[in-house]
Symmetry: C2
Subunit: 340 residues, 2 copies
């Protein structure tokens, strides 16, 4: 009933092996034969059975994407969509696995779960890319992996990143150029190394400008709308204290939460308070006011990660770190920040 490689072979008048060679773009097939085979494949609408393929070869054509379960933000969505699109282009499939570092035994649970899948490699976005128990187990198993923006240990594996420090530095300078002197900062997830880089970039830019930062104006956050809201609520509830004139949130979801909190406390953005974010999430563009942010090429980043995993040289273990890439960011000026 379903078309197999044999059907294609007999119809094309060649052996199954030759069809296999064409399928896998191997050499040593005469152009003429290759064309015939390709034509028959199209005629019969033949699709190789992934299971037979995976069983007899070392490759599964499956890539894993591990995501941090409790915090599924717009960022995670962009990551997944980017990975999905690139995988499709390459004829691969994506296996998404949610993983909660806070829950004991999850690493084993997830890795056992995908053990039978023989994944060709996995992509680790933040904050999983710095979750040591996971990295250790993955290395132990010998599974190729690429980290997205880990912010540390560049030699450990291939990675794709932006220059978090420089980007945060640039954004802070932008605020300073707008005339702001009293600037607050909402941090990202503590275990997320990129969050520390952004904070460092912020502090460095402030220091270079000779500006001090109130300890109370550096607020904890979890990259979620909720945590941004809470940070703002906390900040504005300290009624007696002076307020910053601008706040740099380590991502857009938190910036949106911050705007909501400001609203609750009767503050106008950007009239009473400038708020800037990071990531250029879709909501940052369409909220009111639209949020000034730093655009990260998330889709390109994860696509690059897929490319590395698919690259036979990387899979063979050729010095992973040399595959690492750093992609450019872009400051997007919108209406949530204005000159003082």
């Amino acid at each position: 009933m379903t078309v197999t490689i044999k059907d294609v072979a007999s119809r094309a008048g060649v052996s199954a092996k030759t069809v296999s060679r064409v399928l896998n773009n191997e050499t040593h097939v005469r152009p003429h034969l290759r064309e015939t085979v390709l034509r028959v494949i199209a005629e019969l609408n033949y699709k190789p059975n992934m299971f037979a393929r995976g069983l007899s070869s070392a490759r599964s054509y499956l890539i894993g994407l591990f995501i941090h379960d409790p915090y599924w933000s717009g960022y995670a969505t962009d990551i997944q969509l980017g990975a999905l699109r690139r995988c499709r282009e390459l004829g691969y499939h994506l296996v998404v696995e949610p993983l909660d570092p806070g829950e004991p035994g999850t690493v084993d649970h997830v890795l056992d779960g995908v053990a039978g899948l023989r994944l060709d490699g996995v992509i680790l976005p933040p904050p999983l890319c710095t979750f040591e128990p996971l990295l250790a187990r993955i290395e132990d198993i010998g599974l190729p992996y690429v980290r997205i923006s880990p912010g540390e240990a560049p030699e450990r594996s291939a990675l794709v990143e932006i220059d978090e420090f420089a980007a945060a530095h640039q954004m802070t300078c932008h605020l300073i150029e707008l005339g702001h002197r009293d600037i607050g900062f909402v941090e990202g997830i503590p275990t997320h190394a990129a969050a520390a880089r952004r904070r460092a970039g912020f502090l460095a830019a402030m220091a270079e400008a000779g500006l001090g930062v109130e300890a109370d104006w550096i607020l904890p956050g979890l990259f979620t709308f909720q945590s941004g809201f809470i940070a703002g609520d906390t900040l504005f509830s300290a009624a007696s204290a002076p307020r910053p004139s601008a706040i740099f949130c380590a991502n857009d979801d938190m910036a949106l939460g911050m705007v909501s909190a400001a609203r609750k406390h009767g503050l106008d953005v950007p009239g009473d308070l400038s708020v800037v974010g990071f990531d250029d999430a879709p909501a940052a563009r369409f909220s009111w006011p639209p949020v000034t942010t730093m655009r990260q090429p998330v889709s390109d980043m994860v696509a690059a990660a897929v490319d590395m995993l698919v690259d036979p040289r990387y899979r063979r273990g050729e010095d992973g770190a040399t595959f690492s890439r750093q992609l450019p960011v872009e400051l997007v000026r919108r209406q949530s920040a204005r000159a003082l």
Copy 2:
């Protein structure tokens, strides 16, 4: 190197077939032997190879989740997370495929892409569950599928839904009980049948209460934050006209956009305008003000869909419609709506 069924068999002193029986929970294995096998499996940390399994049996242990590519909302995220969790519990894996109905040839593209995967079934959330070309092709192929909230053709396949009409009716009554008479409505995606049901529920409740609805107060929407914002912006820009005192948005993302638009036009929610949503998305709870909404048990719904697909009776084609389920909703009162 990797542990196979034979290793388990020889170590347990049984045949591979017996191990296979234990693995698949088949009958006709003495409890005593079953225990031994189970113990050896644990000792060796044996994980069956999915490819070998899929190749020799009719099942792939793979479930597809098709999602509407351009509109990835909090709803889609909840759907995916719910599906992922249930699949993991059952030892299945989820294959997510983005699909854009607006792009010519996508149906073929996606179905060709997963053809080699021999999916055990697919889940179709809105609005794909009413995308006729897709349904036709899936039925043509003979792939089992379950629709989530299609709002039409209940006999066509198994489905999981809530009573959209009753839920929207209830929400509208809530607004009326709060004293509102001038109520607007922001619609969902036109091709999304559930959106039509919600609208119908709203109109019915208004009619029953003897209340009229301004044609200008029924606004188009796409279930996105952006579209909710635009709807509000349009509504409030019509300066001369009177405004409604309450607006029912067909989902939370749009309600959030509506609140943002109100803010832009200097309107206070709920002071000047009550806004209610639908879905109980996480952001609805944590935004300011928190949004009154109708909670949909999204995770339970998609889990039920996975269960149906895994159920051998359904897969065997036993009258799919009898598997259909309707789950209860719950009105969640928060601060975005208040008594007039």
